[in-house]
């Protein structure tokens, strides 16, 4: 049994984690600096751990921590101003200076949500993709540097360095802390969605390493997408993104067998799918479809919804899926989308036609799933030696060990 203090600590940490984004976003706004905001937040957390056990958890923990951190910010600003007397004032300190006069009455009863600014800054196109991902997980997700490093299989110093560089660029190049204007927001919102989807995919199908799914990354991406739906409304693409991730993640228990092996959609035990997650995903798809023409995330969510609604693999409406991939190809005619459409046509209409469409594709020769898809249709057509050859080519390209084991099983079963 855990001691009461350990119990308390766990509760406090849960609160810190879920409120991290909101508090840090506010503190960055007030201090104009990621680093000073983080320092002040650490002090706020420490104060909470020291005070709460005796006084109880306050009604609005986020406001409590922010208010303490805010005072620390002002103190350290005063100290540094004295220390750096006669030195050039750092840029970006205007906000703290302005807030200084209102020090005794911090405006925290109305606690504005600055998370939307924060996510647009973290996913700014002037930062590279790795930096965007790391910053988003660190600030809005409240993950520690060690946790992010572990999830992306990079050494912790590398990840820490990445964060330092990104924060330096934000400060030095003055990447603004604001929601982009109407002419920019479309492109910038797409970048935010890409970052969140990348985090999900890294968790859903780990590109390297021994575990196929790193569930914590999927959960985190879903949490971020939920937040995005809450703070950036009305935006159907956000709903589509959340729906897509929920519908995929609903299969997590069924995707991996007891030995850690990959189970294909066709062979999955559908009773192990997470029904609550599916329900929520289907509702979101419906809700978003009512709001206008579907974008790529919503179309992919609609495809996942067709799978989710099929009671058995054999009852899958492959024609519907092929039509949705056709629409998706209209928006994004990438070879991978065309490959999926070809597979759906193969399974929904005619195996030979699907195979012909696959073989007409170019540019996928180094993509293991291209050869795996070809192998699968050949296997169904009972062309064993051609199927075996295609499985071998897929095996020569696959990086994930669990996917490799799946392909090896298939090859052996021919």
């Amino acid at each position: 049994m855990r001691s009461p203090s350990a119990e308390f600590r766990a509760t406090a940490e849960l609160i810190f984690r879920s409120e991290h984004g909101r508090i840090i976003a506010r503190l960055i706004r007030l201090s104009g600096s990621f680093d000073r905001a983080e320092e002040a937040l650490q002090e706020g957390f420490a104060a909470a751990l020291a005070t709460w056990p005796a006084q109880g958890i306050p009604a609005n923990p986020a406001a409590w921590i922010t208010s303490v951190a805010y005072r620390k910010l002002i103190d350290s600003h005063r100290r540094s101003r004295v220390r750096r007397d006669k030195q050039i004032e750092f840029e970006y300190e205007i906000l703290v200076a302005a807030a200084d006069s209102a020090a005794d009455d911090p405006p925290l009863f109305t606690f504005p949500d600055d998370r939307l600014r924060l996510i647009f800054t973290c996913c700014h196109p002037a930062l590279n993709r790795e930096a965007q991902v790391a910053l988003t997980l660190r600030t809005l997700g409240g993950l520690t540097t060690a946790e992010i490093a572990r999830a992306f299989l990079v050494p912790e110093p590398t990840l820490a360095q990445r964060l330092v560089r990104a924060k330096r660029k934000i400060q030095g190049a003055r990447i603004p802390y604001q929601v982009p204007g109407a002419d920019q927001i479309g492109a910038r919102r797409a970048a935010v969605q890409e970052v969140i989807y990348l985090i999900f995919n890294e968790g859903y199908l780990a590109t390297a390493g021994e575990a196929l799914i790193r569930g914590e990354l999927c959960d985190e991406a879903i949490r971020l997408a939920r937040m995005l739906c809450e703070i950036d409304t009305p935006e159907p693409a956000n709903l589509g993104l959340l729906a897509l991730m929920l519908l995929h993640h609903s299969r997590r228990e069924a995707r991996i067998d007891d030995a850690g092996g990959l189970v294909t959609l066709e062979e999955q035990d559908r009773s192990r799918w997470d029904r609550a997650m599916i329900r929520e995903g289907l509702d979101l798809v419906e809700q978003a479809l009512r709001q206008g023409p579907p974008g790529p995330y919503l179309l992919q969510a609609a495809i996942a919804a067709v799978h989710a609604e099929a009671p058995t693999a054999a009852a899958t409406d492959w024609r519907q899926i092929a039509a949705l991939y056709g629409e998706l190809a209209w928006l994004n005619p990438s070879p991978v989308v065309l490959l999926n459409r070809a597979v759906a046509i193969g399974l929904g209409e005619d195996l030979r036609r699907g195979l012909m469409l696959i073989e007409a594709l170019s540019g996928l020769d180094n993509y293991h799933l291209y050869h795996a898809a070809r192998a699968d249709l050949l296997r169904r057509l009972d062309c064993r030696s051609a199927a075996a050859e295609a499985y071998r080519r897929a095996l020569a390209l696959v990086a994930n060990q669990v996917e490799r084991a799946f392909l090896e099983r298939r090859l052996a079963a021919l």
Partner: protein, 121 residues
């Protein structure tokens, strides 16, 4: 904050450009010059003479080693610069998108560099 906009384009492409393209290129620069001056953000901006006029000086054993040409051969070359006073990087990116970096069909790009303060003595 002041940002420097380094305009890179391919001199070879420029040499091959049609008179109409060159007129368009100039008109593009004039539009940026006029607008940035009108908005009060213009600090400086000039084109550079062709790379054939470049000289590189490098200190070797305490003596200047003088070389004809650029210090590095690249596909695109520095062709000119602007210095504009912008509120933040987003505003700088908006201006960069308006600066012509190459004539029609040519490659080219704008590199944005924030200007640093001269450290105190």
């Amino acid at each position: 904050m002041r940002y420097m906009f380094l305009v890179y384009s391919s001199e070879a492409d420029m040499a091959a450009a049609s008179p109409e393209d060159m007129l368009k290129l100039r008109a593009g620069h004039w539009a940026v010059l006029d607008e940035t001056r009108k908005k009060g953000v213009f600090r400086a901006g000039e084109p550079l003479r062709p790379i054939a006029t470049a000289t590189t000086v490098r200190m070797r054993d305490g003596k200047p080693l003088i070389l004809d040409g650029l210090f590095a051969e690249t596909k695109e070359q520095l062709a000119g610069y602007y210095i504009l006073d912008c509120a933040n990087l987003d505003e700088a990116i908006e201006w960069a998108a308006k600066i012509p970096a190459a004539c029609q069909g040519g490659e080219g790009c704008i590199e944005i560099r924030p200007i640093a303060e001269i450290p105190p003595r």
